[in-house]
């Protein structure tokens, strides 16, 4: 109760509440623009926090994070362009729902799942920071490697029709991740002498190219779609029956998001993919995934919004920024002479508990602002197709340039678009490739680091309890996916005359 009183006082005696609303608006706007990541949106506001009181400053930055992670799902659903990395998993079923004329419902599900996920993550942050922080300390290089392998084990379930093509896509993603500087020796790999490639290829470039540019290339050759009045142009929330159906995927998103969030380096992207795959595995309608399943929107959206809160656990309890966004928040704290860690709660309880309260307000603000802006967003994407394609393409080339102010990035996105076009022609799924790009560096660097630490003894992966547990989970997931594939093939053979 004392903590609650401190939070209330912090919120009511400062500009924290307006800061939370302003931060969410800025975050949603930034997150919805491809190329403006949550951390960039936060970093742009960092200079403005100098003159603010500490509570309002950290609440502003935290609210931007909340808004941006949610904002990424809006273009993912409406124009097949993930605004942030973690929205990639939402693209598949969200855009399929949009194509079926259910854009309003898809956005309603993403908003409500994001809201529920955000509050669940906040509850985890408030109630379990101390105990969960200990888990973060258990993560060693072998455990990180195993975490990456666990993420890769999802590939088998994301392959769509063909397991072989799913794995080919996964391998392609890993190959893209090898481009850049070798994580151990520093040797440039596949950079062809270009300094722009030394830092590797950002996953967002691959995602925007695969999803958005290939879609533009496909759409331009198809006839124009129906008039706007034939489509779902208003924001709609799920009815009670659908809510019941979405409860399980949201719960899965909550659990996965909590675990991934407190793992430094885990992040919303892996959480979203794992939640998507797990919800498909537990669903009564797995056949709908990839074809516009509401559960396929709810699970990843819940997961990546949980991460916005749980990613702060290592930061606030241990002083470890587990993501770029957490690092910016750390910067916001340091600007005001505050050191995150256990002492923050003793020395500056107003800031710590004020941040908790501010995040609560930010989640409510996210929901309210979503109610206001989403219907106009749907209206916008129901404009005449030529203009829509033109603006999406213009947004893509502008947003991508803004990441590193590099035209090479724009070229890479166009190349990724061609690859995506070819993959669609050949019926190769995108998601395993995206997962490979996201996880490739993490898997390779931690594998090699572990081998160096153990003098080349691979038993290090089995001796570390966290690593062993995660590897066993991966093995179970792959076995289950292969068995399910085998069973469904057998069943299909049985019913085919």
């Amino acid at each position: 109760m004392e903590e609650l009183a401190i939070a209330w006082k912090a919120l009511t005696t400062t500009w924290a509440v307006p800061a939370a609303f302003a931060g969410v608006v800025w975050g949603i706007f930034g997150g919805a623009l491809p190329g403006i990541s949550p951390s960039i949106a936060m970093a742009l506001l960092l200079p403005f926090t100098y003159s603010m009181d500490p509570v309002s400053a950290v609440v502003l930055l935290g609210a931007v994070y909340v808004g941006a992670e949610y904002g990424g799902s809006i273009p993912a659903i409406l124009i097949r362009t993930p605004g942030t990395n973690s929205a990639a998993a939402t693209t598949i079923d969200g855009y399929e729902m949009n194509k079926r004329g259910q854009a309003g419902l898809a956005l309603g599900i993403s908003l409500s799942a994001g809201f529920v996920g955000g509050l669940f993550g906040l509850a985890m942050l408030v109630l379990m920071t101390e105990s969960l922080a200990r888990v973060a300390l258990l993560f060693t290089p072998p455990a990180y490697f195993a975490l990456g392998v666990l993420g890769c084990s999802v590939v088998a379930g994301l392959g769509g029709g063909s397991v072989v093509k799913g794995w080919i896509a996964g391998v392609l993603g890993f190959l893209v991740a090898t481009i850049g500087t070798d994580p151990v020796s520093g040797v440039p790999r596949f950079t062809f002498g270009s300094p722009d490639l030394l830092g590797g290829i950002r996953p967002i470039l691959v995602m925007v190219g695969l999803f958005a540019v290939s879609e533009i290339m496909i759409q331009v050759r198809e006839p124009a779609w129906d008039k706007a009045d034939a489509r779902d142009t208003r924001l709609r929330f799920p009815d009670l029956k659908l809510w019941k159906r979405l409860a399980l995927p949201q719960a899965i998103g909550g659990v996965v998001g909590t675990l991934e969030g407190l793992t430094p380096g885990g992040g919303g992207t892996i959480a979203a993919f794992l939640a998507y795959n797990e919800s498909k595995r537990w669903s009564k309608h797995p056949e709908e995934y990839g074809h516009g399943s509401p559960e396929g929107v709810a699970a990843p959206e819940a997961a990546n919004n949980v991460v916005t809160a749980t990613a702060l656990i290592p930061l606030l309890s241990l002083g470890i920024p587990g993501s770029n966004s957490a690092a910016i928040l750390l910067g916001g704290l340091l600007i005001h002479g505050l050191s995150p860690g256990p002492l923050l709660f003793e020395r500056n309880p107003d800031v710590a508990y004020g941040l908790y309260g501010g995040l609560f307000v930010a989640n409510i603000a996210m929901f309210l602002i979503g109610l206001v802006i989403l219907t106009p967003c749907i209206w916008l994407v129901n404009r005449p197709k030529p203009y829509l394609l033109a603006f999406i393409f213009a947004l893509v080339v502008s947003g991508v340039f803004s990441i590193d102010q590099s035209l090479v990035d724009v070229g890479l996105v166009l190349i990724a678009g061609v690859v995506g076009y070819f993959m669609r022609w050949a019926d190769i799924p995108f998601l395993p490739m995206v997962l490979g790009v996201v996880l490739g560096y993490m898997v390779e660097s931690n594998f090699r680091r572990s081998m160096q630490l153990s003098n080349g003894d691979p038993m290090v992966f089995l001796e570390d309890p966290v690593s062993l547990g995660l590897l066993l989970c991966s093995a179970a997931l792959v076995t289950y996916s292969l068995m399910r594939e085998h069973r469904s093939k057998k069943a299909a053979t049985g019913v085919t005359p």
């Binding site: 030529p386 394609l389 803004s402």
Partner: protein, 148 residues
């Protein structure tokens, strides 16, 4: 069948290219036993094996009809990509605001809108809106151009 065959052959070619490129990577004294070429070579092997599986599977199946796609459609898609490449070439010379205006206009016309004052006006408003968002609001230094 043609799709799987094409995909398999492309995969094999890519696997071979990756292997040879990885083999050419310089050795570093700082390198570990796995080396910078370790993972790429492993991936090349896996990609090669998966591609072979795809080719064998495609050859074992009866030739399917309807795999041949309309070349005209592919060319239309390529044209859209070409506009993206044109933007890429022009923006560093002409500058962001002017290029993005012509880019929006060109894509809209290419995608089927009728020429007239309306697409010009919409493109102008869109270009200014994007310029304001990225340059003024987010303070991103978009290409300034060298010609003007």
């Amino acid at each position: 069948m043609i799709k799987d065959l094409g995909c398999g052959v492309t995969g094999l070619a890519l696997a071979a290219a990756v292997y040879f490129l990885a083999d050419d990577l310089p050795r570093s004294l700082l390198s570990d036993p796995t080396g910078a070429d370790g993972l790429p070579k492993l991936l090349a092997y896996i990609l090669g094996a998966l591609s072979l599986l795809l080719i064998v599977g495609a050859l074992r199946r009866a030739p399917a009809t309807g795999d041949a796609e309309n070349l005209e459609k592919h060319l239309r898609s390529a044209g859209m990509l070409g506009l993206g490449v044109l933007y890429l070439v022009a923006v560093s010379h002409v500058g962001y605001l002017v290029t993005i205006f012509f880019f929006i206009l060109a894509v809209a016309l290419y995608a089927g809108t009728r020429p007239g004052w309306q697409p010009v006006a919409i493109s102008a408003v869109g270009a200014v809106a994007l310029w304001f968002t990225f340059v003024k609001l987010f303070a991103i230094p978009m290409p300034a151009g060298t010609l003007f």
